[in-house]
Point group: C2
Chain length 359, copies 2
DNA sequence: AAGGTATTCGGGTACGTACACGTAATTTCT
DNA sequence: AGAAATTACGTGTACGTACCCGAATACCTT
């Protein structure tokens, strides 16, 4: 006698077994239909598919991943955390978090970091990725043309890819996860507006030497201006581009700027470099201006805390990374529909709520 | 010859098998140690435990859930969505989302809804839950004493429980997931402050007949007042309690209130009933006041959109539900440490960013 | 020392699926 | 018609773990 009795026949089967039983075939045949491999006559195929539909069969994911001992390889291609900005540290944390959650399901994540000031490094890494056997890609398409070339190759190889932080419209990505820039500028304008009187003056400051990323900043600026246009507010907007991003250069420019416009009531900095402005305001002992900038970075938060920055706009960079990996996982493993465009919420961070913010 | 060759002996085993091999025992024995069941001598137990540590063995969760055909039952006890407020619809959605994600891992979620105006309904359901065989509980402890009685019983039965939306300090819950009320009030005051001149006037309005939940509102009020105290702002705060929550009663009270205080510049409503105030302001053709309230509810957002409400404070009720269930899952299935206090971020919603908000 | 009882451990089967291989059925060719 | 090629389907083994059952050994009794 066997050690363990088989369950008696009254037991309800499920999964492939039940389908096989109903269709009067073996589980092997059912399996072939499910993975639509060859070797099944159209007739029995139809029968089995109908049964699958009727039962609303949901494959057991655990058993599936257990049995198919395959490992899926995801490649991540994002900028390195530069000394220009620590921004990309956050998405990386999210990516690693997702990785640790799903590595037990047989997923490996390879990370590649390119230099934001060096297109070549980007191109080289794309080549490297395409050589390694990869099943999915998470991409930050900072260099537009080069990214387009890369995604086209992915399309050809049938490798799904997810874009984060900036979009590459018209491309056949699995999805885009990131900010909607225009509205974040628009929102900033609303906040700035509380400090600006009728016929007042506000400064927009772009601090960036990365020409490629400039459309990013521009979108925000457009949103910012649109708010005042929509609300028919009479005011003066002074716009300043600063391409030398080291602090002393920025400080020098700010000195001139504030000298020329002593009546400015608010400053909108279109990226995380708001920290330099805050520092200058502090050191120059300026009268209090409303200061709005971007991103939940350590230095920025410090100036938020001591009141020099009033609002930080942030769009959960960490979650972007997390969701990017998870989108690949959901598509390839769980075979679940994923949202084509996942715009991150536009979060407002102040002195009062920063402690509770989840990046 | 067998159909499939065994892997040759050079193969690297992992999991229990490898442990068993190293310890010179069978996997059965290893299994007993892992689940510290009886039947293993102290000596071999030690050996095996050392090997487990050395290998940093991580059990394969899929295989585990597959093999142990057990089903875990989670009970959810939260208020029904009343016509007083649709608030509890959101956590429910999050709960159901979590449920659908983990049901394939053998987890069932039973939902019980009590009437916020009827303590007895709460108590009855706790009894029902304790009778059914349950492995974990998600609880909204609206009625404090009754909840305490319930959680004590859970403690005795070794059933872990997670609290959402309001805490029950000093209890041995697995974790608390919800808002930190004081700071949300504090933040509201900061926002209100932009509209209030020196020596201005602001109204605080509590609209609620649920006496039990009143400490909730009070905490927010304290935070609100604390902001002005901390910033040494001279202003007048008028506080009003409205216990009749139907619109006409509220409208009547507001009429008197605004008549008595025509110089008020801002109104802070301590919960989601801000909708009534917005409606009254609209209908009474009042001059523009800054209006701040709580929760991303449909009606509230409508008034946000048309400008009558300036800011909504919201703390992701849906995510609270989601995380509540997931916390149980992480603890009981993944055996992962969970944060004891997960305070939700304090989100600021405006006309400009509500479209991107994730509740 | 023989028998009994605890204690400790090995081995087998199952979970639901994937896939390689084998065989039976059918078609195609000569 | 019979052989060969093709197509259609069945079967066994494996994935890593849980858990049951029985075997083996150790420890007592008398």
């Amino acid at each position: 006698m066997p050690y363990k009795m088989k369950k008696d026949s009254a037991v309800e089967l499920n999964g492939v077994k039940e389908i096989a039983r109903r269709a009067n075939v073996s589980i092997g045949t059912v399996d072939r239909v499910i993975h639509n491999r060859s070797g099944v006559s159209e007739k029995t195929k139809k029968i089995i598919q109908d049964i699958i539909k009727e039962l609303d069969y949901q494959p057991n994911i655990m058993a599936r991943r257990l049995a198919s001992n395959k490992v899926l390889n995801f490649a991540v291609l994002i900028p390195a955390e530069s000394n220009e900005t620590e921004f990309w540290a956050a998405p990386l944390i999210g990516i690693e978090q997702a990785e640790s959650e799903i590595k037990q399901y047989g997923i490996k994540v390879e990370k590649y970091f390119f230099d934001l000031n060096d297109k070549k490094s980007f191109v080289n890494l794309t080549k490297k990725i395409l050589k390694s056997s990869i099943d999915g890609v998470l991409l930050a398409p900072s260099f537009i043309d080069e990214s387009l070339a890369f995604t086209k190759q992915c399309d050809q190889l049938q490798i799904p890819y997810v874009l984060i932080n900036s979009d590459l419209p018209k491309q056949d990505s699995l999805c885009y996860i990131g900010p909607e820039l225009f509205h974040s500028g628009y929102l900033s304008a609303h906040l700035a507006n509380y400090a600006i009187r009728e016929n007042g003056k506000v400064l927009i400051i772009n601090i960036s030497r990365e020409i490629d990323n400039h459309h990013h900043l521009l979108r925000k600026e457009e949103g910012f201006r649109a708010y005042f246009a929509d609300h028919a507010k009479e005011l003066t907007i002074i716009k300043e581009d600063i391409r030398q991003t080291d602090y002393s250069s920025v400080a020098a420019r700010l000195k001139d700027l504030l000298h020329d416009h002593p009546d400015a009531e608010a400053i909108f900095v279109t990226n995380s470099r708001v920290v330099s402005v805050a520092r200058y305001l502090q050191e120059s002992d300026q009268k209090k201006l409303l200061l709005i900038g971007y991103d939940y970075l350590k230095d920025n938060v410090a100036y938020l805390k001591n009141g020099l920055i009033d609002f930080l706009i942030c769009q959960k960079p960490q979650e972007q990374g997390y969701r990017g990996i998870m989108a690949l996982y959901q598509d390839m493993v769980l075979k679940v529909e994923v949202e084509k465009n996942y715009f991150m919420p536009i979060d407002i961070i102040t002195k009062e709520n920063y402690k509770f913010y989840r990046n």
